[in-house]
C-alpha cells in the first residue's frame, strides 16, 4: 500500500516541490470519484491551499484516473504533505481513515520525477497514452491563468510538458495503437492517408463502435454513417459523432452495393454488430468496390461472430481485418511499448536532473556561496594586481589586507543573506535570487523562468485512452 513519504528533514526554507494524490493503482474507482475535482474545484482548491498558507504555489491535477495536488510549501515545508492530505479530506469531506493506504505523497526530487513520469505516460493505466499530456497542459494553463502557480511550478510543469513531448518524439512508447478501435482506424490511415473527406460506415452501435466513431471524428472524417438494427441507437450514436443514421434495411445501399441511387460506397467499414453472423458477403463487398471505381476499401470486422465472410479477404483492393487480427496487433504493440520503458525512464531522469540542477541553483545558500566565490576571485585578482606592484608591502601586511578584504566581502554579503532569510514568499525569494544571479552574472543559463504559457503548445498524439 502506498505511504506518504513525508519530507521530514531540512525542507524548511528550501525551494521544494511536494505532492499528494491517488491514482488507479492506489484507489478504486469509487474512491477516485469522490476525490476528483472539477476544473473550477481544482482552481478553488489551489486558491484555498495558498490562502491557508499550506502551499505558496499550488496546482490540482484531476483526471479520470488520478487526483493530485502539487505545490511548493512555504516555511512549514516539513509538514506540507500532511497538511495537503488533511486539506484533501476536508475539501472532499472524506474521513482520513478512508484514505489510509490510498494516498501517496512525494517531496523534492521524487515529486518531480513522479510528475515527469505522469507526463511521459509511464504512470498511466495504458502505458504511453497521450491524453494525459493534454490534460496536464490544460490543468497547468488554467492554474497559470488563475495565478496559483509561480516560478517553481511554472518551471516544473513546463519541464513536465517538455518531458512528455520528448518521450513521445524520441521513443516508440506512444507510437503504436494499443486499442482495437484505434488499431482499426490507424490501419485505415495506412491505406488512405488522411481521413479528412473520407466516408466511413459504422455497422453496429455498441461500445467499440462509439470508440471508433470518436477516433474518426477526431481525425476529421468527411462523412460518417451509422447502421444498426436498432435505428434509435444508430441515431443516438450518429448524433453524438456528428454523423448520419441509416436504417438496417438500407445497408446494401449504404455499401454502395445496391446499384444507383444510394449514398455512395464508403472508404472504410467498421463492423461490430453482434449475433448476426457474416452478413457482409464477398459479393456485396465486391460490388461496393466496383461502385467505387476499384478504389480500395478497408474493413475492420470487430464482430463476434464475424460480420464479414472470411472469403472476402481475397477480394482485390479489400483490406479486411477481423477482431483476432487487430487483437494480435494490439498485443504486439503493447509489448513494443513496454520495451520502450527504459528509454522513456532515461529521458525522465535527464529532465528531472535538469530541473533539480535549476532548483539547486535557486537555493539561498547556493547563491551566497556563488557570490562569495565570485567576490573572492575578484579580491584575489585585485590583490595580485595591486600588491604585486608595491615592493614595500611585507607578507604580514599582505595577510592583514587579505583578512580585511575577506571580512568586507562577508559584510557585503550579510545584507542579501539577511534579506533572503526574511523573505516570506517564495515568489519574492526566487525573484531576489534570480536578480542576484543575473546582476552578478552567476549563471548565464538560469534564464527561462518563463511565467507565461510559452510551453503550452499543442502536441500531436492519439488520445486513444483516457486517463
Amino acid at each position: 500500500m502506498p505511504e506518504i513519504s513525508n519530507a521530514k528533514g531540512p525542507m524548511a526554507g528550501r525551494i521544494q516541490v511536494a505532492l499528494i494524490g491517488c491514482n488507479h493503482r492506489t484507489a478504486p474507482v469509487e474512491l477516485r470519484e469522490r476525490v476528483a475535482f472539477t476544473p473550477q474545484q481544482a482552481l478553488d482548491a489551489a486558491d484555498e491551499l495558498r490562502r491557508r498558507g499550506i502551499l505558496e504555489e499550488a496546482l490540482v491535477l484531476s483526471t479520470c484516473n488520478r487526483s493530485e495536488l502539487y505545490g511548493v510549501p512555504g516555511e512549514s515545508g516539513a509538514m506540507a504533505t500532511d497538511a495537503m492530505r488533511d486539506f484533501l479530506t476536508s475539501f472532499h469531506r472524506i474521513s482520513a481513515a478512508e484514505l489510509n493506504g490510498r494516498i501517496y505523497g512525494r517531496a523534492g526530487p521524487e515529486a518531480v520525477r513522479h510528475l515527469f513520469r505522469v507526463a511521459a505516460g509511464l504512470d498511466s493505466m495504458l502505458l504511453g497514452e497521450a491524453e494525459i499530456l493534454g490534460q496536464l497542459r490544460t490543468a497547468y494553463g488554467q492554474a497559470l491563468e488563475h495565478g496559483t502557480t509561480g516560478p517553481v511550478l511554472n518551471r516544473l510543469f513546463q519541464g513536465a510538458l517538455e518531458t512528455g513531448k520528448r518521450v513521445r518524439a524520441e521513443t516508440e512508447i506512444g507510437a503504436r495503437p494499443v486499442s482495437v478501435a484505434l488499431a482499426g482506424v490507424k490501419l485505415a490511415e495506412h491505406v488512405f492517408g488522411s481521413l479528412k473527406g473520407r466516408v466511413a460506415l459504422i455497422i453496429g452501435a455498441g461500445a467499440v463502435a462509439e470508440q471508433v466513431a470518436e477516433h474518426l471524428r477526431n481525425r476529421g472524417i468527411g462523412s460518417l454513417r451509422v447502421v444498426n438494427r436498432s435505428y434509435s441507437r444508430a441515431a443516438e450514436l450518429a448524433g453524438e459523432a456528428g454523423g448520419e443514421a441509416l436504417a438496417w434495411e438500407s445497408l446494401e445501399a449504404a455499401l454502395g452495393a445496391g446499384g444507383h441511387g444510394g449514398p455512395g460506397a464508403p472508404d472504410m467499414i467498421i463492423a461490430s454488430a453482434g449475433g448476426i453472423g457474416a452478413f457482409l458477403t464477398r459479393e456485396m463487398l465486391e460490388r461496393s468496390i466496383a461502385a467505387r471505381g476499384g478504389r480500395p476499401i478497408f474493413v475492420a470486422d470487430l464482430g463476434v461472430p464475424r460480420n464479414a465472410a472470411p472469403d472476402a479477404a481475397g477480394v482485390y483492393n479489400l483490406y479486411l481485418y477481423n477482431v483476432d487480427d487487430l487483437g494480435e496487433i494490439v498485443e504486439q504493440n503493447k509489448k513494443a511499448r513496454e520495451a520502450e520503458i527504459p528509454r522513456a525512464e532515461a529521458i525522465v531522469a535527464e529532465q528531472s536532473a535538469k530541473f533539480e540542477a535549476w532548483r539547486q541553483r535557486l537555493e539561498t545558500r547556493s547563491v551566497l556561496d556563488d557570490l562569495r566565490n565570485r567576490f573572492g576571485e575578484q579580491r584575489e585578482g585585485l590583490l595580485r594586481e595591486r600588491l604585486g606592484e608595491s615592493e614595500g608591502v611585507s607578507p604580514e601586511e599582505r595577510e592583514r589586507i587579505a583578512r580585511i578584504t575577506g571580512e568586507l566581502i562577508e559584510r557585503i554579503l550579510s545584507q542579501p543573506a539577511e534579506r533572503l532569510r526574511n523573505e516570506k514568499g517564495m515568489r519574492g525569494r526566487v525573484a531576489t535570487i534570480e536578480a542576484l544571479r543575473y546582476s552578478f552574472g552567476l549563471d548565464a543559463t538560469l534564464g527561462g523562468l518563463d511565467a507565461t504559457a510559452g510551453g503550452l503548445d499543442e502536441t500531436a498524439g492519439d488520445a486513444e485512452d483516457e486517463e
Binding site: 521513443t171 490501419l187 495506412h190 488512405f192 471505381g293 476499384g294 496487433i329
Partner: protein
C-alpha cells in the same frame, strides 16, 4: 575513390541515417535535418557538376561517370521537389539509400577520368540529354515508390505489421507520389526526345528513328503513358498498377545500360 567522392557518399549515408531514424522516431527536427543534409548534398553535387562542366564546356553527360552523377543529382532534386509538394518524408529513407548505393558504385567501379572534350553541339543537344536523364531519374523514383507501395500492400494483406510499418506512408500517398513522378518523367522525356529529334534532323537531315535508343525511348513513353491511363481503372488500380510501374522501370534500365553501352550508334558514352 576521391575525397570528394567519399564526402558525397557520406552525405547521402548521413541523410539516409536520419531519414531511417525518422521512420522510427518522427522527431520533426530529425526530419528537417535529413532534408537539410540531402539538400546540402544536392547543392554540393551541383557545384561538382558545374566544375566538371567548366572543363568540358558542356553538361557532363558524355561519359558514364558524368552521366551517372547527373542522374543521381536529378533524382535527388526530383525527390526533394516531391517531398516538399506532398509533405511526406517517410519515403526519404528508401530514396537516399538508393542514392548512397548508387554513388558508392559510381565512385568505386566507374573510372573517374576526364572524358575527351566533346564536340560543340549546342544548347538544344544539352537540353535533350539533360531532360532525358531527368526523366530516367523521375522514373527511378517512381520505381522506388512503387516498390514501397507493394511492400506496404503486402504487409497490410499479411496482417502482421512490424515496427517500421507504422511509420510508412499510406498507400494513397505512395500512389500519388509515384504518379507525380511519372508525370515529371513523361514530360521531361517527351520534351527531351523531341529536342533530340529536332537536333538530329538539323544535323543529319533525317530523324534517325531506327536507332535502338530512339525506339526504346518511344517504348518507355508508351509503357508509362499506359500506366497513367490504366492505373485509375477499376481493374488495375492499386497493387497491380504499382507492379506495372515498377516493371516499366525495366525498360529504363535496359535503355540506360545495354542500349547505351552496346546497341546504339548515336547515344554511346565516350
Amino acid at each position: 575513390m576521391t575525397h570528394l567522392g567519399w564526402l558525397t557518399v557520406a552525405c547521402y549515408a548521413a541523410s539516409f541515417a536520419c531519414y531511417a531514424r525518422f521512420l522510427y522516431a518522427p522527431n520533426p527536427w530529425l526530419g528537417r535535418l535529413a532534408t537539410a543534409l540531402l539538400a546540402g548534398e544536392i547543392v554540393a553535387e551541383y557545384f561538382v557538376l558545374l566544375e566538371r562542366s567548366h572543363g568540358m564546356h558542356a553538361v557532363p553527360y558524355d561519359d558514364l561517370y558524368g552521366s551517372m552523377s547527373l542522374f543521381a543529382w536529378l533524382l535527388g532534386v526530383t525527390y526533394l521537389g516531391l517531398e516538399t509538394f506532398h509533405r511526406q518524408r517517410s519515403v526519404g529513407a528508401f530514396v537516399t539509400l538508393l542514392l548512397a548505393v548508387w554513388m558508392t558504385l559510381l565512385e568505386t567501379l566507374v573510372p573517374r577520368t576526364a572524358p575527351p572534350l566533346p564536340p560543340a553541339r549546342g544548347p538544344l543537344f544539352a537540353f535533350h540529354v539533360t531532360l532525358n536523364t531527368w526523366a530516367y531519374a523521375a522514373f527511378a523514383l517512381s520505381f522506388v515508390l512503387s516498390v514501397v507501395y507493394l511492400l506496404q500492400d503486402r504487409i497490410l494483406r499479411l496482417r502482421h505489421p512490424g515496427a517500421a510499418f507504422w511509420r510508412f506512408p499510406a498507400l494513397d500517398v505512395l500512389e500519388r507520389m509515384a504518379r507525380s513522378s511519372v508525370y515529371i518523367g513523361l514530360a521531361a522525356l517527351t520534351a527531351g526526345a523531341t529536342m533530340g529529334l529536332i537536333w538530329a534532323h538539323r544535323l543529319m537531315g533525317s530523324y534517325t528513328l531506327s536507332d535502338p535508343k530512339v525506339m526504346v525511348t518511344f517504348a518507355i513513353l508508351v509503357v508509362y503513358a499506359a500506366y497513367l491511363l490504366i492505373s485509375r481503372s477499376a481493374r488495375w488500380r492499386g497493387a497491380r498498377a504499382a507492379a506495372l510501374c515498377a516493371a516499366n522501370f525495366g525498360f529504363v534500365l535496359f535503355s540506360y545500360t545495354l542500349v547505351n553501352l552496346y546497341l546504339t550508334k548515336f547515344h554511346r558514352f565516350l
